[in-house]
Protein backbone atom coordinates (compact mmCIF):
# COMPACT_ATOMS: atom_id res chain seq x y z
CA UNK A 1 0.00 0.00 0.00
CA UNK A 2 2.71 2.44 1.02
CA UNK A 3 4.82 1.34 -1.88
CA UNK A 4 2.27 2.88 -4.22
CA UNK A 5 2.62 6.66 -4.21
CA UNK A 6 -0.36 6.76 -6.57
CA UNK A 7 -2.65 5.72 -3.69
CA UNK A 8 -1.32 8.57 -1.58
CA UNK A 9 -1.86 11.04 -4.43
CA UNK A 10 -5.44 9.85 -4.87
CA UNK A 11 -6.00 10.28 -1.14
CA UNK A 12 -4.57 13.82 -1.21
CA UNK A 13 -6.69 14.76 -4.22
CA UNK A 14 -9.79 13.42 -2.49
CA UNK A 15 -9.06 15.49 0.61
CA UNK A 16 -8.54 18.64 -1.42
CA UNK A 17 -11.75 18.05 -3.37
CA UNK A 18 -13.61 17.38 -0.13
CA UNK A 19 -12.26 20.57 1.47
CA UNK A 20 -13.23 22.62 -1.60
CA UNK A 21 -16.70 21.08 -1.82
CA UNK A 22 -17.37 21.83 1.85
CA UNK A 23 -16.29 25.42 1.40
CA UNK A 24 -18.15 26.01 -1.88
CA UNK A 25 -21.45 24.50 -0.72
CA UNK A 26 -21.00 25.72 2.84
CA UNK A 27 -21.79 22.35 4.43
CA UNK A 28 -22.31 22.57 8.21
CA UNK A 29 -19.50 20.82 10.04
CA UNK A 30 -21.80 18.56 12.13
CA UNK A 31 -23.02 17.03 8.84
CA UNK A 32 -19.73 16.80 7.00
CA UNK A 33 -16.65 18.40 8.53
CA UNK A 34 -13.89 19.85 6.36
CA UNK A 35 -10.62 17.89 6.40
CA UNK A 36 -8.97 20.88 8.01
CA UNK A 37 -11.45 20.71 10.90
CA UNK A 38 -10.82 16.99 11.23
CA UNK A 39 -7.08 17.64 11.47
CA UNK A 40 -7.59 20.33 14.07
CA UNK A 41 -9.81 17.99 16.12
CA UNK A 42 -7.20 15.27 15.83
CA UNK A 43 -4.43 17.56 17.02
CA UNK A 44 -6.51 18.85 19.94
CA UNK A 45 -7.11 15.30 21.11
CA UNK A 46 -3.34 15.05 21.59
CA UNK A 47 -2.03 12.48 24.05
CA UNK A 48 -5.40 10.78 24.43
CA UNK A 49 -4.82 9.07 21.09
CA UNK A 50 -2.25 6.83 22.59
CA UNK A 51 -4.57 5.16 25.10
CA UNK A 52 -7.42 4.91 22.55
CA UNK A 53 -5.18 3.29 19.95
CA UNK A 54 -3.50 0.86 22.37
CA UNK A 55 -6.89 -0.11 23.77
CA UNK A 56 -8.27 -1.01 20.35
CA UNK A 57 -5.00 -2.56 19.22
CA UNK A 58 -4.96 -4.80 22.28
CA UNK A 59 -8.52 -5.97 21.64
CA UNK A 60 -7.73 -6.66 17.99
CA UNK A 61 -4.58 -8.62 18.77
CA UNK A 62 -6.16 -10.65 21.57
CA UNK A 63 -9.17 -11.39 19.38
CA UNK A 64 -6.94 -12.33 16.46
CA UNK A 65 -4.79 -14.53 18.68
CA UNK A 66 -7.86 -16.24 20.09
CA UNK A 67 -9.18 -16.81 16.57
CA UNK A 68 -5.87 -18.43 15.61
CA UNK A 69 -5.87 -20.58 18.72
CA UNK A 70 -9.32 -21.94 17.98
CA UNK A 71 -9.23 -21.69 14.20
CA UNK A 72 -6.12 -23.76 13.47
CA UNK A 73 -7.12 -26.90 15.38
CA UNK A 74 -10.61 -26.61 13.95
CA UNK A 75 -9.24 -26.35 10.41
CA UNK A 76 -6.98 -29.35 10.96
CA UNK A 77 -9.93 -31.32 12.31
CA UNK A 78 -12.12 -30.34 9.35
CA UNK A 79 -9.47 -31.21 6.78
CA UNK A 80 -8.74 -34.45 8.59
CA UNK A 81 -12.13 -36.09 8.51
CA UNK A 82 -15.11 -35.68 6.19
CA UNK A 83 -17.27 -36.33 9.25
CA UNK A 84 -15.85 -33.35 11.13
CA UNK A 85 -16.24 -31.31 7.96
CA UNK A 86 -19.94 -32.09 7.73
CA UNK A 87 -20.43 -31.67 11.45
CA UNK A 88 -18.65 -28.35 11.93
CA UNK A 89 -18.86 -26.48 8.64
CA UNK A 90 -22.62 -25.69 8.73
CA UNK A 91 -22.24 -24.06 12.14
CA UNK A 92 -19.40 -21.91 10.91
CA UNK A 93 -21.51 -20.74 8.01
CA UNK A 94 -24.47 -19.99 10.27
CA UNK A 95 -22.14 -18.13 12.63
CA UNK A 96 -20.69 -16.14 9.77
CA UNK A 97 -24.05 -15.12 8.32
CA UNK A 98 -25.32 -13.91 11.72
CA UNK A 99 -24.43 -10.21 11.95
CA UNK A 100 -21.84 -9.51 14.61
CA UNK A 101 -23.78 -6.38 15.57
CA UNK A 102 -26.56 -8.69 16.77
CA UNK A 103 -24.25 -11.10 18.58
CA UNK A 104 -21.90 -8.61 20.23
CA UNK A 105 -24.40 -7.22 22.81
CA UNK A 106 -25.11 -10.75 24.02
CA UNK A 107 -21.42 -11.53 24.42
CA UNK A 108 -20.84 -8.26 26.26
CA UNK A 109 -23.81 -8.84 28.56
CA UNK A 110 -22.61 -12.31 29.40
CA UNK A 111 -18.89 -11.59 29.55
CA UNK A 112 -18.80 -8.03 30.78
CA UNK A 113 -17.09 -5.02 29.23
CA UNK A 114 -13.54 -6.17 29.87
CA UNK A 115 -10.82 -7.13 27.44
CA UNK A 116 -11.83 -10.78 27.45
CA UNK A 117 -15.40 -10.26 26.25
CA UNK A 118 -14.31 -7.70 23.66
CA UNK A 119 -11.64 -10.05 22.36
CA UNK A 120 -14.23 -12.78 22.09
CA UNK A 121 -16.34 -10.50 19.88
CA UNK A 122 -13.33 -9.78 17.65
CA UNK A 123 -12.38 -13.46 17.53
CA UNK A 124 -15.93 -14.44 16.61
CA UNK A 125 -15.70 -12.57 13.31
CA UNK A 126 -12.05 -13.33 12.60
CA UNK A 127 -12.26 -17.07 13.01
CA UNK A 128 -14.20 -17.91 9.85
CA UNK A 129 -11.64 -16.88 7.21
CA UNK A 130 -8.87 -18.53 9.24
CA UNK A 131 -10.67 -21.85 9.39
CA UNK A 132 -11.80 -21.79 5.77
CA UNK A 133 -8.45 -20.73 4.33
CA UNK A 134 -6.43 -23.14 6.45
CA UNK A 135 -8.72 -26.10 5.79
CA UNK A 136 -8.76 -25.31 2.07
CA UNK A 137 -4.97 -25.13 1.94
CA UNK A 138 -4.53 -28.35 3.89
CA UNK A 139 -6.98 -30.16 1.62
CA UNK A 140 -5.50 -28.71 -1.56
CA UNK A 141 -2.12 -30.37 -0.94
CA UNK A 142 -1.29 -32.22 -4.17
CA UNK A 143 -1.82 -35.95 -3.98
CA UNK A 144 1.72 -36.60 -5.21
CA UNK A 145 3.25 -34.57 -2.36
CA UNK A 146 1.52 -36.83 0.13
CA UNK A 147 2.29 -39.99 -1.81
CA UNK A 148 5.95 -39.04 -1.99
CA UNK A 149 6.02 -38.50 1.77
CA UNK A 150 4.15 -41.74 2.39
CA UNK A 151 6.51 -43.71 0.20
CA UNK A 152 9.40 -42.52 2.38
CA UNK A 153 7.73 -42.71 5.77
CA UNK A 154 4.10 -43.50 6.52
CA UNK A 155 3.49 -41.00 9.30
CA UNK A 156 0.34 -38.85 9.00
CA UNK A 157 1.26 -36.40 11.76
CA UNK A 158 4.63 -35.76 10.17
CA UNK A 159 2.92 -35.27 6.82
CA UNK A 160 0.62 -32.69 8.40
CA UNK A 161 3.48 -30.72 9.92
CA UNK A 162 6.03 -31.01 7.14
CA UNK A 163 3.95 -31.27 3.97
CA UNK A 164 0.38 -30.10 4.44
CA UNK A 165 1.03 -27.08 6.65
CA UNK A 166 3.91 -25.67 4.57
CA UNK A 167 1.81 -26.15 1.47
CA UNK A 168 -1.12 -24.35 3.12
CA UNK A 169 0.96 -21.32 4.16
CA UNK A 170 -0.06 -19.29 1.14
CA UNK A 171 -3.74 -20.06 1.79
CA UNK A 172 -3.40 -19.43 5.51
CA UNK A 173 -1.94 -15.98 4.98
CA UNK A 174 -4.63 -14.93 2.56
CA UNK A 175 -7.09 -15.95 5.30
CA UNK A 176 -5.09 -14.05 7.93
CA UNK A 177 -5.21 -10.85 5.89
CA UNK A 178 -8.99 -11.01 5.81
CA UNK A 179 -9.15 -12.11 9.45
CA UNK A 180 -7.10 -9.20 10.78
CA UNK A 181 -9.35 -6.61 9.11
CA UNK A 182 -12.41 -8.45 10.42
CA UNK A 183 -10.86 -8.47 13.90
CA UNK A 184 -10.63 -4.67 13.71
CA UNK A 185 -14.31 -4.50 12.80
CA UNK A 186 -15.16 -6.89 15.62
CA UNK A 187 -13.16 -4.83 18.12
CA UNK A 188 -14.93 -1.62 17.04
CA UNK A 189 -18.35 -3.24 17.35
CA UNK A 190 -17.42 -4.50 20.82
CA UNK A 191 -16.37 -0.98 21.81
CA UNK A 192 -19.61 0.44 20.44
CA UNK A 193 -21.58 -1.94 22.60
CA UNK A 194 -19.46 -1.95 25.73
CA UNK A 195 -19.19 1.86 25.75
CA UNK A 196 -15.77 1.85 27.34
CA UNK A 197 -12.63 3.10 25.70
CA UNK A 198 -10.86 2.72 22.38
CA UNK A 199 -11.21 4.10 18.88
CA UNK A 200 -14.60 2.49 18.31
CA UNK A 201 -15.98 4.08 21.43
CA UNK A 202 -14.45 7.40 20.33
CA UNK A 203 -16.36 7.28 17.05
CA UNK A 204 -19.52 6.33 18.91
CA UNK A 205 -19.34 8.98 21.61
CA UNK A 206 -18.21 11.78 19.29
CA UNK A 207 -21.16 11.10 17.04
CA UNK A 208 -23.51 11.09 20.00
CA UNK A 209 -22.26 14.55 21.00
CA UNK A 210 -22.44 15.84 17.41
CA UNK A 211 -18.66 16.22 17.46
CA UNK A 212 -18.47 15.04 13.85
CA UNK A 213 -14.89 16.24 13.16
CA UNK A 214 -13.66 14.10 16.06
CA UNK A 215 -15.67 11.12 14.83
CA UNK A 216 -14.05 11.48 11.43
CA UNK A 217 -10.60 11.76 12.96
CA UNK A 218 -11.16 8.56 14.95
CA UNK A 219 -12.49 6.88 11.84
CA UNK A 220 -9.38 7.80 9.86
CA UNK A 221 -7.07 6.54 12.59
CA UNK A 222 -9.08 3.33 12.67
CA UNK A 223 -8.71 2.91 8.92
CA UNK A 224 -5.00 3.54 9.25
CA UNK A 225 -4.71 0.94 12.01
CA UNK A 226 -6.47 -1.59 9.80
CA UNK A 227 -4.15 -0.80 6.92
CA UNK A 228 -1.04 -1.14 9.06
CA UNK A 229 -2.15 -4.47 10.51
CA UNK A 230 -3.10 -5.75 7.06
CA UNK A 231 0.31 -4.80 5.66
CA UNK A 232 2.03 -6.29 8.68
CA UNK A 233 0.53 -9.70 7.89
CA UNK A 234 1.91 -9.43 4.35
CA UNK A 235 5.32 -8.37 5.62
CA UNK A 236 5.46 -11.28 8.06
CA UNK A 237 4.60 -13.66 5.23
CA UNK A 238 7.31 -12.22 3.01
CA UNK A 239 9.89 -12.41 5.80
CA UNK A 240 9.11 -15.85 7.19
CA UNK A 241 7.87 -17.64 4.08
CA UNK A 242 9.42 -15.95 1.05
CA UNK A 243 8.70 -18.99 -1.13
CA UNK A 244 4.99 -18.81 -0.42
CA UNK A 245 4.44 -15.74 -2.54
CA UNK A 246 5.98 -17.37 -5.60
CA UNK A 247 4.27 -20.70 -5.09
CA UNK A 248 1.99 -20.79 -8.14
CA UNK A 249 5.02 -20.94 -10.42
CA UNK A 250 6.39 -23.85 -8.44
CA UNK A 251 3.10 -25.71 -8.07
CA UNK A 252 5.04 -28.61 -9.46
CA UNK A 253 2.18 -31.02 -8.99
CA UNK A 254 0.18 -29.54 -11.84
CA UNK A 255 3.12 -28.68 -14.07
Amino acid sequence: MFKRPIAILVLLAAFILWELACRVFDVPSYLLPKPSEVIVAAINFGGNWWSAITETFLTVMCGFGLALLIGFPLAILISHSPFAYRAIYPFLVIKQSTPIVAVAPIIIVVGGTGLVAKSVVAATVAIFPIVVATATGLMATPKEFLELARSVHDHPRKALLRIRLPFAVRYIFSGLRVAITLAVIGAVVAEFVSAGRGLGYLVYSSTAFMNTPMAFAALLVLGFLGLVLFSLVGIIQALLFPWASEMPAAGAADA
Binding site: L148, S151, R162, I163, E246, M247, A250, A252, A253
Partner: protein, 263 residues
Protein backbone atom coordinates in the same frame (compact mmCIF):
# COMPACT_ATOMS: atom_id res chain seq x y z
CA UNK B 1 17.65 -62.09 -1.51
CA UNK B 2 17.22 -64.98 -3.84
CA UNK B 3 18.55 -64.12 -7.22
CA UNK B 4 16.19 -66.71 -8.63
CA UNK B 5 13.18 -64.64 -7.58
CA UNK B 6 12.16 -62.05 -10.15
CA UNK B 7 12.58 -58.45 -9.00
CA UNK B 8 8.95 -57.68 -9.78
CA UNK B 9 6.19 -60.16 -10.52
CA UNK B 10 2.74 -58.87 -11.40
CA UNK B 11 0.12 -61.52 -11.74
CA UNK B 12 -3.42 -60.94 -13.00
CA UNK B 13 -3.67 -57.30 -11.99
CA UNK B 14 -7.18 -55.89 -12.23
CA UNK B 15 -8.12 -52.37 -11.27
CA UNK B 16 -11.63 -50.99 -11.11
CA UNK B 17 -12.04 -47.35 -10.15
CA UNK B 18 -15.36 -46.32 -8.64
CA UNK B 19 -18.26 -48.64 -8.00
CA UNK B 20 -21.79 -49.36 -9.20
CA UNK B 21 -22.72 -47.68 -12.44
CA UNK B 22 -19.64 -45.44 -12.27
CA UNK B 23 -17.29 -48.40 -12.12
CA UNK B 24 -14.50 -48.11 -14.64
CA UNK B 25 -12.17 -51.01 -15.27
CA UNK B 26 -8.71 -49.71 -16.08
CA UNK B 27 -6.59 -52.84 -16.00
CA UNK B 28 -7.68 -56.37 -16.86
CA UNK B 29 -5.45 -59.26 -16.05
CA UNK B 30 -2.14 -57.49 -16.54
CA UNK B 31 0.71 -59.88 -15.86
CA UNK B 32 4.45 -59.52 -16.34
CA UNK B 33 7.75 -60.20 -14.72
CA UNK B 34 10.80 -58.00 -14.41
CA UNK B 35 14.03 -59.84 -13.78
CA UNK B 36 16.88 -58.85 -11.55
CA UNK B 37 18.79 -55.83 -12.86
CA UNK B 38 16.71 -55.82 -15.98
CA UNK B 39 15.73 -52.57 -17.69
CA UNK B 40 12.13 -52.85 -18.86
CA UNK B 41 10.07 -50.18 -20.56
CA UNK B 42 6.30 -49.98 -20.66
CA UNK B 43 4.77 -48.39 -23.73
CA UNK B 44 1.12 -47.56 -23.73
CA UNK B 45 -1.29 -44.92 -24.83
CA UNK B 46 -2.29 -42.09 -22.52
CA UNK B 47 -4.78 -43.17 -19.89
CA UNK B 48 -4.07 -46.87 -20.24
CA UNK B 49 -3.13 -47.16 -16.57
CA UNK B 50 0.66 -47.00 -16.53
CA UNK B 51 0.93 -44.58 -13.61
CA UNK B 52 -1.70 -46.57 -11.74
CA UNK B 53 0.33 -49.74 -12.25
CA UNK B 54 3.39 -47.98 -10.84
CA UNK B 55 1.43 -46.95 -7.76
CA UNK B 56 0.67 -50.63 -7.14
CA UNK B 57 4.29 -51.64 -7.44
CA UNK B 58 5.35 -48.75 -5.19
CA UNK B 59 2.81 -49.89 -2.58
CA UNK B 60 0.85 -46.64 -2.67
CA UNK B 61 -2.35 -48.18 -4.01
CA UNK B 62 -3.90 -51.64 -3.97
CA UNK B 63 -5.14 -53.39 -7.09
CA UNK B 64 -8.73 -54.61 -7.07
CA UNK B 65 -7.39 -58.12 -7.54
CA UNK B 66 -4.18 -59.81 -8.52
CA UNK B 67 -0.83 -60.19 -6.85
CA UNK B 68 2.35 -58.18 -6.93
CA UNK B 69 5.52 -59.61 -5.53
CA UNK B 70 8.79 -57.78 -5.12
CA UNK B 71 11.84 -59.96 -4.64
CA UNK B 72 9.49 -62.78 -3.76
CA UNK B 73 7.43 -60.86 -1.17
CA UNK B 74 3.88 -59.69 -1.59
CA UNK B 75 3.68 -55.86 -1.69
CA UNK B 76 1.92 -54.54 1.38
CA UNK B 77 3.02 -50.92 1.35
CA UNK B 78 5.91 -48.70 0.33
CA UNK B 79 9.29 -50.37 0.61
CA UNK B 80 12.65 -48.75 1.24
CA UNK B 81 14.31 -50.43 -1.72
CA UNK B 82 11.70 -49.34 -4.27
CA UNK B 83 11.38 -45.74 -5.43
CA UNK B 84 8.87 -44.21 -7.72
CA UNK B 85 9.69 -41.13 -9.71
CA UNK B 86 6.36 -39.45 -10.35
CA UNK B 87 5.19 -38.23 -13.72
CA UNK B 88 5.20 -34.65 -12.35
CA UNK B 89 8.40 -33.37 -10.75
CA UNK B 90 6.61 -33.03 -7.37
CA UNK B 91 9.25 -30.76 -5.84
CA UNK B 92 8.46 -28.95 -2.61
CA UNK B 93 8.52 -25.21 -3.28
CA UNK B 94 9.65 -24.48 0.28
CA UNK B 95 12.86 -26.45 -0.13
CA UNK B 96 16.01 -25.78 -2.12
CA UNK B 97 17.08 -28.15 -4.88
CA UNK B 98 19.51 -29.85 -2.50
CA UNK B 99 16.91 -30.24 0.24
CA UNK B 100 14.45 -31.67 -2.25
CA UNK B 101 17.00 -34.24 -3.34
CA UNK B 102 17.71 -35.09 0.30
CA UNK B 103 14.01 -35.23 1.23
CA UNK B 104 13.74 -39.05 1.26
CA UNK B 105 16.49 -39.09 3.87
CA UNK B 106 15.60 -36.04 5.95
CA UNK B 107 11.90 -36.82 6.14
CA UNK B 108 12.58 -40.25 7.49
CA UNK B 109 15.76 -39.93 9.51
CA UNK B 110 16.26 -36.22 10.15
CA UNK B 111 19.43 -34.38 9.28
CA UNK B 112 21.42 -36.11 6.50
CA UNK B 113 25.02 -37.06 7.15
CA UNK B 114 27.96 -35.41 5.37
CA UNK B 115 28.35 -38.41 3.09
CA UNK B 116 24.67 -38.31 2.17
CA UNK B 117 24.92 -34.60 1.42
CA UNK B 118 27.98 -35.16 -0.71
CA UNK B 119 26.21 -37.95 -2.56
CA UNK B 120 23.19 -35.70 -3.18
CA UNK B 121 25.52 -33.07 -4.63
CA UNK B 122 27.08 -35.70 -6.87
CA UNK B 123 23.64 -36.71 -8.11
CA UNK B 124 22.73 -33.10 -8.79
CA UNK B 125 25.91 -32.74 -10.81
CA UNK B 126 25.17 -35.97 -12.65
CA UNK B 127 21.80 -34.68 -13.82
CA UNK B 128 23.57 -31.56 -15.05
CA UNK B 129 22.53 -29.11 -12.38
CA UNK B 130 25.82 -28.50 -10.57
CA UNK B 131 25.84 -25.07 -8.98
CA UNK B 132 22.06 -24.98 -8.67
CA UNK B 133 21.91 -26.71 -5.27
CA UNK B 134 20.61 -23.64 -3.47
CA UNK B 135 18.07 -22.70 -6.13
CA UNK B 136 14.39 -22.84 -5.40
CA UNK B 137 12.38 -25.16 -7.68
CA UNK B 138 10.46 -22.18 -9.04
CA UNK B 139 13.71 -20.88 -10.51
CA UNK B 140 14.10 -24.00 -12.64
CA UNK B 141 12.55 -24.94 -15.96
CA UNK B 142 10.21 -27.92 -16.23
CA UNK B 143 12.99 -30.13 -17.58
CA UNK B 144 15.37 -29.08 -14.81
CA UNK B 145 12.72 -29.87 -12.23
CA UNK B 146 12.36 -33.35 -13.70
CA UNK B 147 16.09 -33.86 -13.39
CA UNK B 148 15.99 -32.83 -9.72
CA UNK B 149 13.23 -35.38 -9.19
CA UNK B 150 15.40 -37.97 -10.88
CA UNK B 151 18.31 -37.18 -8.57
CA UNK B 152 15.95 -37.44 -5.60
CA UNK B 153 14.73 -40.87 -6.62
CA UNK B 154 18.32 -42.13 -6.64
CA UNK B 155 19.41 -40.70 -3.30
CA UNK B 156 18.46 -43.73 -1.23
CA UNK B 157 20.24 -46.24 -3.49
CA UNK B 158 17.09 -48.08 -4.53
CA UNK B 159 17.28 -51.64 -5.84
CA UNK B 160 14.19 -51.12 -7.93
CA UNK B 161 13.37 -47.82 -9.52
CA UNK B 162 10.16 -46.91 -11.32
CA UNK B 163 10.48 -43.99 -13.72
CA UNK B 164 7.19 -42.50 -14.93
CA UNK B 165 7.99 -40.54 -18.11
CA UNK B 166 11.07 -38.95 -16.56
CA UNK B 167 12.25 -37.25 -19.71
CA UNK B 168 8.97 -36.00 -21.14
CA UNK B 169 9.73 -32.31 -20.60
CA UNK B 170 13.18 -32.42 -22.20
CA UNK B 171 14.32 -31.64 -25.71
CA UNK B 172 15.39 -34.53 -27.92
CA UNK B 173 19.17 -34.11 -27.55
CA UNK B 174 19.14 -33.63 -23.80
CA UNK B 175 16.72 -36.50 -23.55
CA UNK B 176 19.03 -38.90 -25.34
CA UNK B 177 22.09 -37.79 -23.40
CA UNK B 178 20.39 -37.88 -20.03
CA UNK B 179 18.77 -41.23 -20.85
CA UNK B 180 22.18 -42.71 -21.61
CA UNK B 181 23.62 -41.18 -18.43
CA UNK B 182 20.78 -42.57 -16.35
CA UNK B 183 21.20 -45.95 -17.95
CA UNK B 184 24.87 -45.96 -17.06
CA UNK B 185 24.27 -44.84 -13.46
CA UNK B 186 21.51 -47.36 -12.90
CA UNK B 187 23.46 -50.23 -14.46
CA UNK B 188 26.43 -49.42 -12.29
CA UNK B 189 24.18 -49.25 -9.21
CA UNK B 190 22.79 -52.67 -10.21
CA UNK B 191 19.25 -51.30 -10.18
CA UNK B 192 16.25 -52.98 -11.65
CA UNK B 193 14.46 -50.35 -13.70
CA UNK B 194 10.96 -50.02 -15.07
CA UNK B 195 10.43 -47.01 -17.31
CA UNK B 196 7.16 -45.65 -18.63
CA UNK B 197 7.57 -43.74 -21.84
CA UNK B 198 5.66 -42.70 -24.94
CA UNK B 199 8.77 -42.82 -27.07
CA UNK B 200 9.51 -46.01 -28.99
CA UNK B 201 13.09 -44.96 -29.72
CA UNK B 202 13.77 -44.18 -26.07
CA UNK B 203 12.32 -47.53 -24.99
CA UNK B 204 14.55 -49.38 -27.45
CA UNK B 205 17.65 -47.36 -26.63
CA UNK B 206 17.43 -48.18 -22.93
CA UNK B 207 15.56 -51.44 -22.46
CA UNK B 208 16.29 -55.13 -22.38
CA UNK B 209 12.62 -55.74 -22.98
CA UNK B 210 9.67 -53.55 -23.88
CA UNK B 211 6.12 -54.30 -22.71
CA UNK B 212 3.11 -52.88 -24.49
CA UNK B 213 0.15 -52.03 -22.31
CA UNK B 214 -2.89 -51.74 -24.54
CA UNK B 215 -6.61 -52.23 -24.81
CA UNK B 216 -9.46 -50.82 -22.75
CA UNK B 217 -9.34 -52.16 -20.11
CA UNK B 218 -5.64 -52.59 -20.64
CA UNK B 219 -3.37 -55.57 -20.26
CA UNK B 220 0.11 -56.48 -21.46
CA UNK B 221 -0.42 -57.42 -25.10
CA UNK B 222 3.14 -57.69 -26.40
CA UNK B 223 6.60 -58.27 -25.05
CA UNK B 224 9.48 -57.33 -27.34
CA UNK B 225 13.02 -58.32 -26.44
CA UNK B 226 15.69 -55.82 -27.45
CA UNK B 227 18.86 -57.62 -28.33
CA UNK B 228 21.39 -54.84 -27.98
CA UNK B 229 24.66 -54.94 -26.09
CA UNK B 230 25.21 -53.03 -22.89
CA UNK B 231 26.40 -50.42 -22.14
CA UNK B 232 23.96 -48.41 -24.19
CA UNK B 233 25.60 -45.38 -25.76
CA UNK B 234 25.00 -43.08 -28.69
CA UNK B 235 26.60 -45.83 -30.79
CA UNK B 236 23.62 -48.04 -29.91
CA UNK B 237 21.49 -45.79 -32.10
CA UNK B 238 23.47 -46.94 -35.17
CA UNK B 239 23.28 -50.64 -34.35
CA UNK B 240 21.24 -52.61 -36.92
CA UNK B 241 19.29 -54.32 -34.16
CA UNK B 242 18.18 -50.91 -32.91
CA UNK B 243 16.28 -50.14 -36.09
CA UNK B 244 14.84 -53.66 -36.15
CA UNK B 245 13.51 -53.38 -32.62
CA UNK B 246 12.00 -49.98 -33.35
CA UNK B 247 10.27 -51.42 -36.41
CA UNK B 248 8.91 -54.41 -34.51
CA UNK B 249 7.57 -52.19 -31.75
CA UNK B 250 6.02 -49.70 -34.11
CA UNK B 251 4.23 -52.54 -35.90
CA UNK B 252 2.95 -53.92 -32.59
CA UNK B 253 1.76 -50.48 -31.49
CA UNK B 254 -0.01 -49.98 -34.82
CA UNK B 255 -1.72 -53.33 -34.56
CA UNK B 256 -2.99 -52.48 -31.06
CA UNK B 257 -4.11 -49.08 -32.22
CA UNK B 258 -5.92 -50.64 -35.16
CA UNK B 259 -7.63 -53.21 -32.94
CA UNK B 260 -8.77 -50.46 -30.62
CA UNK B 261 -10.17 -48.52 -33.58
CA UNK B 262 -11.97 -51.59 -34.93
CA UNK B 263 -13.83 -52.28 -31.70
Amino acid sequence: MLAAEPAIACDGIVKVFGSGTDALTILRDASFVVRHQEFVSILGSSGSGKSTLFRFIAGLLKPTSGHIKILGREVEGPRDDVTLMFQNPTLFPWMSVLDNVLFPISYRFGRPTREQQAYARDLIATVGLAGKEKFSPSQLSGGMQQRVALARSLVRHPRIILLDEPFSALDEMLRENLAIDVHRILSKAECTVVLVTHSISEAVLLSDRVLILAGAPASITDVVAVDLPRPRTVATLDHPAYADACRTLRAAMRRNFQEAADV
